[in-house]
């Protein structure tokens, strides 16, 4: 593989600029992976890696991914929150790479809440 250079970065920028003008109405779903000490120790990193790979493979641009700290339910980690715009957030517990694949494909893409993995509906209060 040829070495990646600053020029490649410039080319990517041009390409992205062109694509961006064709698209709007971003940010349909926000997925939060809880990454406190407890989350990381119980496998949140693998969940995050899987989620990023799935988003990349599905080529969707309206899903944003973020992380947050511990929310005090360490025993149920890894926790993932899926927020579809205009709907209450859904928290999933004991998530692993297989579960996140299913959650991504069925809930994030198709809007079908994966009830067996759900911990709670609604927001928590942190800090």
């Amino acid at each position: 593989m040829a070495k990646l250079t600053i020029d490649d970065l410039k080319k990517i920028k041009e390409k992205v600029h062109n694509e961006m003008s064709l698209r709007d109405g971003d940010r349909r779903v926000k997925v939060t992976v809880h990454m406190g000490t407890c989350g990381i120790a119980s496998g949140a990193k693998e969940v995050m890696d899987t989620l990023l790979a799935e988003i990349d493979a599905a080529k969707v641009h309206d899903v944003i991914v973020t992380t947050s700290g511990c929310m005090g339910l360490c025993s149920r980690e890894p926790l993932v929150t899926v927020e579809v715009i205009n709907e209450p957030p859904i928290k999933y517990e004991y998530v692993n790479p297989n579960k996140i694949r299913q959650i991504f494909k069925r809930h994030v893409l198709e809007g079908e809440i994966q009830t067996p993995f759900v911990l709670a509906k609604g927001s928590e209060i942190t800090k």
């Binding site: 593989m1 000490t37 990193k45 995050m48 890696d49 641009h61 991914v65 992380t67 929310m71």
Partner: protein, 182 residues
């Protein structure tokens, strides 16, 4: 925590919570002295001298959702288990530096793990923070600075999939060249 990357992700989360704008992660492998150093430096709001004394106590935490704070104690333990040391320097309103050393070839030293994934996760989920990654293996070194990338891409967000792909690519290339031992 099975790998050093897990610790790095965890400790960096502290820096983010401290409102850091730039976080530097330095990994230094020194084969001659059998030493592996991991240093995380931030420009967050820092800690009082009193808090610095308490951070390695697992029952000290600034969070209110639970009564334990295990991030730093676990890192300290991982370092000391491999014959290394743990040091924390912090100044209020200036920032915090966490430095852990490990015996590079010590049997009980945790492997470095998926460091590229950790850096990528950090950049994606904290697109407003600048990350600087430096990895040295004896006389070979690799550096990645999101500030420089940001300069080139102008208004394209740093967490855009194409940019992330580029960052992942440069890191894979760079680390292949320096052939990390850890």
């Amino acid at each position: 925590m099975l790998t050093l990357s897990d610790h790095i992700l965890d400790i960096t989360e502290n820096s983010i919570r401290a409102g850091a704008k730039r976080i530097e992660i330095c990994i230094d492998e020194d084969s001659e002295n059998d030493l592996l150093t991991v240093e995380i430096q931030d420009d967050g709001h820092g800690m009082s001298p009193d808090a610095v004394q308490k951070v390695v106590d697992p029952f000290y935490t600034t969070k209110t959702v639970r009564r334990v704070g295990l991030g730093l104690p676990l890192l300290k333990d991982a370092a000391e288990r491999s014959g290394g040391t743990f040091r924390l320097k912090s100044q209020e309103n200036c920032g915090t530096t966490v430095k852990a050393t490990f015996g590079l070839r010590h049997l009980d030293r945790q492997p470095l793990g998926a460091i590229i994934n950790v850096i990528v996760i950090l950049i994606i989920s904290n697109s407003d923070i600048d990350f600087f990654y430096k990895h040295r293996h004896n006389d070979r070194r690799f550096e990645m600075d999101t500030r420089e990338i940001r300069k080139e891409i102008e208004d394209v967000p740093i967490n855009h999939p194409q940019i992330i792909k580029y960052i992942r690519g440069t890191m894979e290339e760079g680390l292949r060249e320096i052939e990390p031992e850890a």
